[in-house]
């Protein structure tokens, strides 16, 4: 009995709510990927084992599955911590911000880097719960500085907005090149 107990203690570790959900998901993902090894990788006849294109995916996924199983075992043997689903909900709610980020990236080629960044900064600051004029103005100022730094000075490769085509000749050139 004491031996079993010690083994349990050995696998216990500091953990946070939701750990077991993550452990199950990772094990499922590893098993799924491993099950695809024959479909998704090739075996070249006449080549040495270590040079096979299948070798490294097979090694990494087998070990990943093994580690994931032990990680899950560790989670199963540890005490349950309250707040598991609240934590999982927080992970899911972060997808909203991922959506904002992707939306921002989709809009830049259409509405231009400067205007999209300014609008995005203000909207996101409001979404984050700030209502003060200082917060909004700081967001506008910071967004402007970011655009100036990366696009105007560092000339980082970012597409020009389609919206700029509607601008008068001189201004269009400036906006296309620097904003």
């Amino acid at each position: 009995m004491s031996r079993v107990k010690t083994l349990q203690v050995l696998f216990k570790r500091y953990r946070r709510p939701g750990d077991i959900v993550f452990a199950w998901v990772l094990l499922a993902v590893s098993l799924f990927l491993l099950s695809q090894i024959f479909d998704q990788t090739a075996y070249k006849a006449g080549k040495k084992l270590f040079a096979q294109p299948r070798f490294w995916p097979a090694v990494s996924l087998s070990l990943m599955t093994g580690f994931a199983a032990f990680h899950l075992l560790g989670s199963l043997l540890s005490e349950r911590i309250e707040g598991r689903w609240r934590e999982v909900w927080l992970w899911i709610s972060s997808l909203e911000y991922a959506g904002w980020f992707i939306g921002y990236a989709m809009l830049v080629p259409l509405t231009g880097y400067l205007s999209t960044t300014l609008a995005f900064a203000v909207l996101l600051v409001l979404r984050a719960g700030y209502r003060s004029r200082t917060a909004v103005l700081s967001a506008v100022a910071s967004a402007f500085v970011i655009v100036l730094l990366f696009k105007t000075f560092l000339q980082v490769k970012l597409p020009a907005g389609k919206i700029y085509d509607a601008l008068p000749d001189g201004l269009r050139q400036i906006m296309l090149n620097y904003f």
């Binding site: 294109p53 490294w56 991922a98």
Partner: protein, 505 residues
């Protein structure tokens, strides 16, 4: 000597000097803001540096890497929140000193100890260079493969109490780098017939997602906070005099920093922990540790600042990064067609010396900057966390999108951002994924190129360095098993620490 002069000449350019200034001062500011670590900043700036000269881009990133820990000490001392994860132990003694009304003494001592550690690290790097230049050419494919394998094993085993999770994530990293078209056999690997996966998953996209975007999501989904730091009164040079009383602790701690910085996977946190324990064991007042001991503060700051220079050793000499930040720097080298490794010391010694000089200069710039600007930095610390999250999100876009204007990259990095958020919330490490990707790639390439020379498996270890590395691998595993058995016998497993290296970076 010629190379040294050529290296200095490389830095004597306006753009390099500006990059050095921006990098080192920017690094201090970034380090001082809790919630933004050097990894976030480097991840964002990485693609922007691709269009710059290698020396310009590298000095800027090196500046951020080397100086962030100086800044990280400020919130650790003043508000008990480490600016970067590696300043965690600084808060143990720094904050009690602040509570006693000795904030000025603590901050100036932290700067001086950081400077000591930083310079010690560079000195070791310079002194070791001739040895490295001698040893590095002895590293062929087999040796580099074994060194990378040792790196992976160390990264996993260094995460005590989280070994299963670290192993799982490191293997996930190795798997990620195999996705796409195999460069030798031209066969598809895990592309699921999706064309965007054919070219593989870009390391920078993963880095940006896991470090920068995850941090933005983390801050935006957590309650808003605005840390309050009070201004510090007094001369900042006072710490230098006091440091002289703790020369021994500072030097030994820097030594720990150098040794552990060179070993992949261990880095600042372990160095800090070991030197703190050493300082406490050899102190005349061990009871003061954790209650405001200047020695504890010196030990922790000197150790973590000695690491960046030492971490450059395996990167420059062998092309093997020991942690996430050097892994990011490796991609800058690759982009500019400068391949770190044995040939670097033979073909680009001027660049190596240029980097050394840049490291010395950045420590001096940071020290001078901090002597005058601590109170300005205490204001920056007060930026509300959610506002910071919004800014990181906007900046991350520049990083991801400027790579190749790909919306797919944006979506992938957003996905990795969510994964990073989950890992951060669960207190699980992120670094093994990145190192798995980098070291996995190195292992695959090197094993393939070593194959034609291998008739039997023993040929793998028939050269002296390869044999030593093999013995080290066995030793590391054996030592780990021994520790596990000891823990099992004493029935007292090592409690996992809450403070984890990957957190808040």
């Amino acid at each position: 000597m010629e190379d040294l002069i050529a290296g200095a000449a490389m830095l004597a350019r306006l753009d390099v000097i500006i990059a050095l200034l921006v990098g080192s001062i920017g690094g201090v500011i970034i380090g001082a803001i809790p919630g933004v670590g050097p990894a976030v900043a480097i991840a964002i700036l990485l693609p922007a540096t691709f269009s710059l000269d290698p020396i310009v881009g590298l000095t800027m990133l090196l500046g951020i890497y080397g100086s962030s820990m100086y800044g990280g000490a400020i919130p650790a001392v003043l508000i008990n929140t480490p600016g970067t994860a590696v300043n965690a132990l600084t808060s143990y003694d720094g904050y009690p000193m602040t509570q006693r009304g000795e904030a000025h003494r603590a901050v100036s001592l932290a700067y001086s100890a950081s400077f000591w550690g930083g310079m010690f690290g560079i000195l070791c790097l310079i002194l070791l260079s001739p040895v490295l230049a001698l040893i590095a050419p002895m590293f062929g494919s087999r040796e580099i493969f074994l060194a990378a394998l040792l790196g992976i094993i160390l990264v996993v085993l260094a995460h005590r109490g989280q070994i299963m999770a670290a192993g799982m994530l490191a293997m996930f990293g190795i798997f990620l780098q195999t996705i796409g078209l195999d460069a030798v056999t031209y066969t598809q690997r895990y592309t699921f017939e999706m064309s965007f996966l054919t070219s593989g998953i870009n390391l920078i996209v993963v880095v940006l997602g896991l470090f920068a975007l995850s941090q933005a999501f983390f801050l935006l989904t957590a309650p808003d906070e605005s840390p309050e730091a009070k201004p510090v009164q007094g001369k900042m040079t006072a710490g230098i005099k006091e440091l002289m009383k703790h020369k021994r602790v500072a030097t030994v701690a820097s030594g720990f920093g150098v040794i552990l910085g060179m070993i992949p996977g261990t880095g600042e946190f372990t160095a800090q922990f070991m030197s703190y324990t050493y300082a406490q064991k050899t102190s005349k007042n061990p009871e003061l540790f954790g209650k405001g001991s200047p020695e504890g503060l010196v030990a922790s700051e000197a150790a973590n600042n000695a690491v960046p220079a030492a971490a450059m050793i395996p990167l420059l000499a062998l092309g093997i990064p020991g942690e996430a930040l050097t892994a990011m720097m490796l991609s800058v080298f690759y982009v500019h067609n400068v391949i770190p490794g044995p040939q670097l010391f033979q073909n680009n010694l001027d660049l190596v010396y240029g980097l050394y000089i840049a490291l010395i200069l950045l420590n001096i710039i940071v020290m001078v900057f901090l002597l005058f600007s601590t109170n300005m930095l205490t204001k920056i610390i007060r930026i509300p966390t959610r506002f910071l999250g919004v800014m990181i999100l906007i900046l991350s876009f520049v990083g991801v999108y400027s790579l190749r204007n790909s919306l797919t990259d944006v979506m992938l990095s957003a996905g990795f951002g969510v994964l990073g958020l989950i890992l951060k919330r669960l207190n699980l490490p992120i670094v093994p994924i990145i190192l798995g990707m980098v070291l996995g790639g190195i292992m695959e390439v090197k094993l393939r190129s070593a194959l034609p020379r291998l008739k039997t498996p023993f040929d793998m270890i028939d050269r002296p360095i390869a044999f030593i590395l093999f013995v080290m691998i066995l030793l590391v595993i054996a030592l780990h098993i021994r520790t596990l058995i000891k823990e099992y016998r004493t029935h007292q497993p090592d409690e996992d620490h809450k403070l984890h290296d990957s957190q808040m970076r």
